[in-house]
């Protein structure tokens, strides 16, 4: 029964909220995350290999299992990292115990809401869960009491709420289109029911519904014209949180889009995939523009999230077994690499005290281990081969070529190379030269390097090999897509 999985973060949030001294909060937070990971394994295994778990309120098939795995892994990494990150901030007196309690409890509530999004069966409940994630993360974005953080939180809240309202309108229209076929029964918004009857939905309503969904959830997923909140929220939020936002929150919104995309593609073949391709390309173009002239490190990483969300949308838009496998693998690879890069950025910002990339010089000499992580992570995030993101882009490119859209493949290559150039230039010029004098060399904390090593190793291994367990898991999702769309 999946409630147990949801119970763990709730309990950890309460425990963190109530405990008084600092050590307890850390222990509860990390222990809670790890227990959640352990609890999730059997459910995901069952969902991947035995078939979807369909209880009264919850519906967990292989697609949601992938997202559960990502949420669980990244939250574990973030909680371990934020322990060390905040210990440093506490020594500098920026954080009070109250803030710490506030931070860790909100972190686990945020995880709970994200788990809800991917487990729940009915689209309405999914919408409510997404709205809840916005509300939970609004406070995390506005965590620091500075005016910029406030401004970023307000913009995040308003733009995402508007987006989600439009998404609700889309869901209502989907519901309206299904009323004609199913009648008004309680379950006509459940995905399992809708997916079985997807091809008889009223096409006109489904088309308008998907437009609202892609605009609404696209805002949450950071697709191009609606991405404007993303760089502000990520640059002002505490770094572990911006890692969580980039790696997991955007994916949950993409999960919502995918659910409706499956329905819409069955009802009106070709419509939703061309929209996904359009928004994917727009995101790549916007990301390229802003990465080439980026000055702030975390804003650059935020725009790289826009880029990778664009690539994922492009992958699903192109369709075909190759591109879908590529997009799924890209989701996994992107969350791992982006968290690694945000952790690296966190170390750099805490050491240099600034986010301006032109003031950060001589990383190799100041903090060699983080420098290795950032250089390899930078190469990975830019999509160079021995790392996992390249395999994702490779599969999506082969999907595009297999489906015969050569112009799209050409534009894709051009944009990716442009972003590769911009990203690598910034990262490698940060790590060259000599640091400004008076900067003590050496790492800030030891514990924070553990999650970074794990992530770097995972990204490298996934880049070179494709273990069977992952290939079977992603294969089952691809079969799900094929049988719905193919």
């Amino acid at each position: 029964m999946i409630e147990l999985l949801l119970l763990v973060p709730l309990v950890t949030a309460l425990l963190c909220g109530l405990s008084r001294n600092e050590r307890h909060i850390y222990i509860f937070s990390v222990a809670g995350a790890i227990i959640m990971a352990l609890v999730a394994i059997p459910f995901c295994y069952e969902a991947f290999f035995e078939g979807p778990i369909d209880t009264w309120l919850w519906y967990m098939d292989s697609l949601s299992a992938l997202f559960v795995v990502i949420i669980v892994v990244i939250v574990a990494m973030v909680s371990v990292y934020s322990v060390d990150y905040q210990r440093h901030e506490r020594t500098e007196g920026e954080l009070t115990i109250k803030d710490l309690r506030y931070y860790h409890s909100l972190l686990h509530i945020f995880t709970l809401t994200m788990l809800l999004v991917v487990i729940v069966d009915s689209l309405g409940l999914m919408w409510i869960a997404i709205e809840a994630t916005t509300l939970a993360s609004a406070f995390l974005v506005g965590f620091y009491k500075k005016s910029e953080a406030m401004e970023a939180a307000w913009k995040y809240l308003i733009i995402c709420s508007v987006g989600i309202t439009l998404a609700l309108l889309g869901i209502i229209l989907i519901y309206a289109s299904s009323v004609g076929v199913l009648g008004e029964g309680m379950d006509s918004l459940d995905w399992s029911v809708l997916s079985s009857v997807a091809d008889q939905l009223d096409p006109a309503l489904v088309k308008v519904a998907f437009i609202f969904i892609i605009i609404g959830l696209g805002t949450k997923a950071g697709l191009a014209p609606m991405h404007t909140w993303l760089p502000d929220a990520h640059s002002q939020a505490p770094t572990p949180i911006s890692g969580l936002l980039s790696a997991v929150l955007l994916n949950c919104a993409m999960y919502g889009i995918l659910r409706i995309h499956l329905l819409a593609e069955a009802a009106v073949p070709g419509f939703s995939s061309s929209l996904l391709v359009l928004f994917g390309l727009l995101s790549l173009i916007v990301a390229a523009i802003f990465i080439l002239t980026a000055r702030d490190l975390k804003r650059m990483l935020a725009f790289s999230s826009v880029e990778h969300m664009g690539i994922i949308a492009l992958g699903f838009g192109i369709g075909g077994p190759l591109a879908i496998l590529g997009a799924l693998f890209h989701i996994l690879a992107h969350s791992l690499t982006k968290t690694l890069m945000f952790f690296g950025a966190g170390n750099v910002i805490q050491k240099y005290g600034t986010r301006e990339m032109k003031d950060i010089k001589g990383l190799w000499k100041a903090m060699p281990t983080t420098a290795i992580m950032i250089v390899l992570g930078g190469a990975a995030i830019a999509g160079s081969p021995p790392f996992a993101l390249f395999v994702g882009e490779f599969l999506i490119l082969s999907g595009a070529i297999a489906s015969g859209s050569y112009l799209l493949a050409g534009v894709f290559i051009a944009l990716i190379t442009l972003i590769f150039a911009g990203m690598t230039y910034r990262i490698f010029s940060m790590s060259s030269g000599t640091p400004q004098e008076g900067l003590p060399s050496g790492e800030i904390g030891k514990l924070r390097l553990v999650p970074m090593f794990l992530l770097a190793a995972a990204v490298l291994i996934l880049g070179l090999f494709f273990p069977d367990v992952i290939s079977d898991a992603l294969g089952s999702i691809v079969d799900l897509f094929e049988e719905m769309i193919g």
Partner: protein, 660 residues
């Protein structure tokens, strides 16, 4: 014999070496890592010899990849290139071991990783393995050549990374198309995709492959990274970059064009490739003549040599399109022979110039001179390299350049006269390029080792110990051997190249001389023997005239006291040719006179700089254009929440209205 051990040794030892270099502190760990690298190189050489004797070997690696199992396969064609590259790896690892230059943890581990990726790319039989290995090679070499990470190093190395990445994306796209078109994932199973893909599509494929691999070889539009990088990078990595990386590029390019895609009638593509290669060769030679840094001269010389190789491959495509596979086989064989000899003498020269740079602390040849007297052994080795690269008879460069010239002399195969002009023009550009390049090489040797030292560093250089010269001996010997005993290598090349163009066997070698059927042959061994006898006879004849008396006097100085400044400088040496090709260089010369107290004495400053044409009117406008557009477009994120919501609403309204 137990064949499996060799490839496993070849592929796993570098990993162990890289691990050893990084994890344990202390210098002997790095020495062991270099030893691992050289042992794996030696096992690679033995394995390729084994394959040359026993025939193709292929293994499936137990590692799963996205497109099925990775696999490696080594056929006789690849074995030859792997043999020569392993020898180069062994001697370069010895070089960086003895010269203590690459002894840092980073240098040792990256050397091992680079070697692993090069070897993996050469033996890869799986599409994805080849592409991943190919780009890991450029990533590891980027990290290796990043030098001591000053800002200038980063911009030079970054240009290299971005240009090769763009090239790699082209290669990836074309290989994806090839494997999808043929439905195969194993490279050895793919052949003749052009028959099913049509001529226009295979023409674009070939052009993409040539431009993709050209970015690594220094083909014209993509050559901008080469000179700057060679000037700033550690010499072990430049040696590897110019030899091992180019070997992989040309090997995979030839296999892809002639094997996987198959050339049926690609006359226009062949002409474009030949034109591009010819202009690259000429441009490389002309620029090599005016560079003042020894590594930059060698960078442009690599560009020129790669231009010649691509020119001959273009000619091979032309012959193949006109149906004469035998001439195409001879052209490919000549190109690969030149590639092999280029690997040897270029890495020898780069390592030697690295030693010169470390001994004198000076890279600029304007400040060197007179090193032959203080470092005689090094100058002898450098001379062997220079004679080989300038294609003078007994050495490797001569035999391969001769073969390239002969392979171009088959104009009668081409039927329509308009295309026939291509070959004589190709020969003209090749001859001009080699002539100008030999001037550049002579200038390089002459002004480093001859005359009087022009700087304190050159006057008393750090003495070069014996073990530092140790890696040069096998290379110099190889230069001579390849030149003199080129026969066995050519027979092997001929037999391994012919299946590529669909022939069972091509008899380009008769008796003792390389003889392209009727067109006159070269007996390299005989020629060198006659030359040696000639020199010996003159020596004996002159000695028989009795004891010679040798006196040491001053150089002829017409009465003025000679010092470091009263002798020709490299810039002066290349002025006449610079004036001959004035239009191409269009130098900006500024002559300024400072007023001096006495009216008779004037001090005049002569300052000349040569614009880099490609950077000034192609890359710089491109980059500033992109930056201009993106700064303009950045206004979009102007911070006001109202505009952000307006974007949302406008997209919604537009989509709803348009897609009604």
């Amino acid at each position: 014999m137990f064949p499996e051990v060799l490839p496993t040794l070849l592929l796993t030892l570098p990993l162990l070496g890289a691990f050893l270099a990084l994890v344990p502190k202390g210098e002997n760990a790095r020495v062991i890592s270099y030893l691992c690298a050289s042992i794996s190189a030696v096992s690679g050489a033995i394995w390729s010899l084994y394959v040359l004797l026993q025939g193709t070997e292929s293994y499936v690696l137990p590692l799963p990849s996205v497109w099925g199992e990775y696999a490696i396969c080594l056929d006789s064609f690849g074995a030859l290139i792997l043999l020569i590259t392993s020898l180069i790896f062994a001697s370069v690892s010895m070089y960086s071991l003895f010269s203590r230059e690459g002894i840092t943890a980073r240098g040792a581990s990256l050397f091992n990783l680079f070697m692993l990726s090069v070897v993996m790319a050469m033996v890869a039989d799986h599409v994805l393995l080849l592409l991943v290995a190919w780009e890991t090679m450029s990533l590891t070499s980027f990290l290796g050549v990043w030098g001591n990470r000053e800002d200038k190093d980063t911009s030079a190395a970054w240009k290299y990374l971005v240009v090769t990445h763009f090239g790699a994306m082209l290669v990836i796209a074309s290989f994806i198309f090839i494997s999808l078109e043929s439905g195969e994932v194993r490279l050895s199973a793919i052949s003749g995709v052009s028959s099913s893909a049509g001529t226009l599509v295979s023409a674009t494929l070939i052009m993409m492959l040539v431009m993709g691999f050209g970015s690594k070889l220094g083909l014209l539009p993509f050559h901008i990274w080469m000179p700057e990088l060679y000037g700033r990078a550690p010499s072990a990595f430049t040696a590897l970059l110019s030899s091992a990386a180019s070997n992989v590029a040309v090997l995979v390019l030839v296999r892809a064009i002639f094997g996987y895609i198959g050339v049926s009638d690609q006359v226009t593509t062949a002409m474009i490739v030949m034109a591009l290669a010819a202009v690259t060769a000429l441009w490389g030679a002309l620029q090599a003549l005016v560079q003042n840094d020894s590594n930059r001269v060698l960078a442009y010389s690599s560009m020129e040599n790669m231009g010649l190789i691509l020119l001959t491959l273009g000619a091979a495509m032309l012959f193949q399109s006109y149906g004469s596979s035998e001439a195409a086989a001879f052209a490919i064989m000549a190109a690969m022979f030149h590639l092999i000899s280029h690997t040897v003498f270029k890495s020898l020269l780069l390592m030697a110039s690295g030693t010169v740079r470390r001994a004198t602390g000076e890279g600029n040849i304007e400040k060197l001179g007179g090193l032959a007297r203080t470092l005689p052994a090094l100058s002898a080795v450098f001379l062997v390299g220079i004679l080989a690269v300038a294609a003078l008879p007994p050495f490797a460069g001569f035999a391969s350049e001769w073969a390239m010239f002969k392979s171009l002399m088959h104009a009668e195969i081409i039927t329509d006269p308009a295309i026939q002009m291509a070959l004589p023009l190709a020969i003209a550009t090749m001859a001009l390029a080699t002539a100008i390049a030999s001037v550049a090489y002579l200038r390089l040797y002459g002004f480093i080792f001859m005359g009087r030292p022009r700087s304190q560093g050159a006057a008393c250089p750090r003495p070069v110990e014996i073990n530092e010269l140790f890696p040069f001996l096998p290379m110099a010997l190889l230069c001579l051997l390849l030149g003199v005993m080129s026969l066995p290598l050519l027979t092997q090349l001929a037999s391994s190249v012919s299946p590529l163009v669909g022939l069972t066997s091509v008899d380009v070698v008769e008796g003792w001389s390389i003889n392209m059927s009727h067109m006159g042959g070269l007996n390299a061994l005989g020629l060198s023997i006659v030359l040696a006898i000639g020199i010996l006879l003159t020596f004996l004849a002159v000695r028989s005239l009795g004891k010679r008396s040798l006196a040491r006097g001053d150089t002829w100085d017409c009465g003025t006291q000679l010092d470091a400044r009263t002798q020709y400088t490299p810039t002066g040496f290349s002025q006449p040719l610079l004036r001959v090709f004035n239009k191409i260089y269009d130098p900006q010369t500024t002559v300024s006179e400072e007023p001096r107290p006495s009216t008779y004495i004037r001090s005049v400053r002569f300052q000349q700089n040569l614009p880099e044409i490609f950077i000034d009117n192609f890359y710089r406008p491109l980059v500033s254009g992109v930056i201009f557009v993106s700064t303009k477009a950045k206004k979009m994120q102007n911070g006001s929440i109202q505009t952000y919501l307006a974007y949302l609403m406008i997209t919604l309204i537009v989509l709803l209205v348009v897609l009604r």
